[in-house]
Amino acid sequence: MLALDLFVNGLIIGLFYALMAVGLTMVFGILKVVNFAHGEFYMVGAYTYTLVSLKLGIPPWVALPLAALAGAGIGWLTERLLMRPLYAGYSSWGLMKDEYAVVVTFGLSLLLINLFDKVIGPYPMRGPSLSSVTRMSVGPFMMSGQKIITAIIAVILLIALALFIKRSLWGRWVQAVAQNRFGASIAGIDTARASSIIFMASGVLAAIAGALLAPVINAAPDVGIFPAVKSYVIVVIGGMGSVPGSILAALLLGVLESFGAVYLSYDYRDTYGLVLLILILLFRPQGLFGERTREV
């Protein structure tokens, strides 16, 4: 029974991780940029949801899309103001000043954490729940209405994202840019717009994750650090740039941490993912779903 409890809890946590990690892996897979401010997109979503609900009295179900909007906004602004100058005029990623992206996004992360700390304050703020059911039995499991809703929304979003990339016109643009930016531009695809779309989608996913978790993990200026660190681990385990790989790795990590905390030691909970990461790097360096590439 305990094992089943742990498995379900691990899957739910894994879904939260997946929402975060997928956005990060998309940005890397398509733009070849590691976004160190990804955790702060999560934080922006958590605060937007919490503040809009608590301070303006707007119902949580309305605050949720507003948080997504805030995530899209910060994603768009980041790409437009900070990322685009890095690759403007370059047709090939090989020539792009991508090392600058690391510095720029790291700086953005520090800026956002300190900005929210000074403007809103350092106190943790608990977001309102989307459900008034604080705990309920689902078969043999106990969970809050918020966790169930969060898990359902996470599944819907991940499926919607997969369909968007696979079926929509914009999604096909994104796929084309991911395969060959220069080739895509020759084929008439607006690569700059595709980059914007991907940053916005990444911001939306992170912000929704932040909003959904705000009633569980209270919003605070540094709240994004924890999911961001997990996301980096997940993205490497899943294969950099692979969306299915990230989802699988996120679920795997959630379950692994859940079991490890009980059957091994809670103290080393955060190290289980790192051990898995090292094993993956040793035996399958491209990650679970990554492709082995060689540049000449």
Binding site: L2, P122, R135
Partner: protein
């Protein structure tokens, strides 16, 4: 050098020295306050320490200051990180010329900062670091007018024994304070309730999900879960204990030993998970308290709109202690201040006491610091409405405690 030139230089040196002395003597007396003003430290605690210290500084300054000089508080943000606390103490002592350092509210930070105070032989007034280790170091410069782990754990063990609880699980944060208190609680339970089984689990204070630590309790819940964690981790733990139906429940008490019940953001963060919580506290409006304490509490309430809590009083007392020591010593010489604190009977705003000189956890400690045990019986309940079941000098009344229906 001509005689005239020598005379000019000598006069200038004498005048400069004279003005310098006059300026230092007439200027404000600087007291260093090292607190967490940004994460990962407890900013909630840091803010309250700051508010309490400022109330006392204003009271002293409005009354004419100390020996005719105003008090000035110099703040340093230690972020709740030991190495930053050490650097903060070093800066306050060597660069800001403070006469004493105070404000410490997280044990790991205090343990680092007191090494600096000890090395420079500067008075250090520990506002709210509970770890017994701080006292057991036996440093002559460190004074403890606040609470300590042994006090909390012995009071909690007494309550647990009175309740007849047979199994206790404590969740302690992985810090000097958390682990220290959890261990001392185990020691006292062995003495006071030898039939009670006890174990504690250390959790990461920066953790965000404690469900895997909570789930194993669902199948076979203990009769009591004890919290030895500070917010925000404590809030997350409480919500997850409640969500899983572990505690508080009809079968399992939830007992807070970290003094979080009177935090201003407590109810915003825990809601139903806080109802029926049993709490160890160092202040309750129904506790006996000197008029000076009531005055400070009223000033706080008028200014900030919240009921005061222990940190407000403890911080105010830390500043008052230093001010009184300066008056008693007739100056700010560190050795004289330390001797004054050793010798004085301190009329604090929470009661009158003399620092113990007994080695061990009682060294330079207010040993009989007043405490209270109470229960939150309603969601969003203000401290003044909570159910007081014990205050210093009063009988423990566990029969008044309420339990949830399920």
């Amino acid at each position: 050098m001509s005689l005239q030139r020598f005379a000019m230089l000598a006069s200038a040196a004498i005048m400069s020295a004279a003005f310098g002395t006059a300026s230092a003597a007439d200027g404000p007396i600087r007291i260093g306050v090292s607190i967490a003003q940004s994460p990962p430290g407890s900013v909630v605690q840091g803010t309250q320490v700051k508010q309490g210290a400022e109330i006392m500084m204003n009271l002293i300054n409005d009354a004419g200051g100390v020996m005719g000089r105003k008090i000035e508080l110099i703040y340093e943000d230690d972020q709740g990180i030991p190495e930053k606390g050490r650097a903060a103490a070093e800066k306050l002592i060597t660069r800001d010329d403070v006469v004493a350092v105070t404000g410490g509210h997280q044990s790991s930070v205090c343990l680092a900062a007191i090494e600096v105070a000890h090395a420079y032989k500067m008075p250090y007034v520990n506002t709210n670091c509970w770890s017994d280790d701080i006292r057991e170091k036996g440093y002559n410069e460190i004074f403890n007018p606040g609470n300590y782990n042994t006090r909390v754990s012995s009071a909690m063990a007494e309550t647990i024994a009175a309740l007849g609880v047979k199994s206790v699980v404590a969740f302690a944060e992985n810090t000097d304070y958390g682990i220290g208190q959890a261990k001392v609680l185990g020691k006292f339970l062995k003495e006071m309730a030898p039939d009670t089984s006890y174990k504690y689990e250390a959790l990461d204070r920066a953790g965000k999900d404690f469900t895997p630590a909570v789930l194993p309790l669902r199948g076979n819940p203990p009769e009591m879960v004890v919290n030895v964690m500070l917010p925000p981790a404590a809030y997350i733990l409480m919500n997850q204990l409640y969500e899983q139906g572990v505690a508080p429940s009809a079968k399992t008490w939830f007992y807070d030993g970290a003094g979080i019940a009177d935090y201003p953001d407590f109810w915003d963060n825990v809601k139903e998970a806080g109802q029926y919580m049993l709490a160890f506290g160092l202040y309750h409006p129904a506790m006996p308290m000197p008029d000076s304490g009531r005055q400070v509490g009223q000033i706080y309430q008028d200014k900030y709109g919240n009921e005061p809590n222990r940190l407000i009083f403890q911080a105010a007392d830390s500043i008052l202690l230093i001010a009184k020591a300066i008056e008693a010593a007739g100056g700010t010489d560190p050795a004289a201040l330390i001797k004054a604190m050793d010798d004085m009977t301190f009329e604090s705003i929470r009661g009158t006491f003399k620092f113990s000189q007994e080695p061990g956890y009682t060294f330079k400690q207010w040993v009989d610091i007043p405490f209270a045990t109470y229960q939150m019986t309603e969601v969003n309940q203000p401290l003044s409405k909570t159910l007081l079941i014990q205050a210093t000098g009063q009988e423990l009344q566990t029969d008044k405690l309420l339990r949830p229906a399920n």
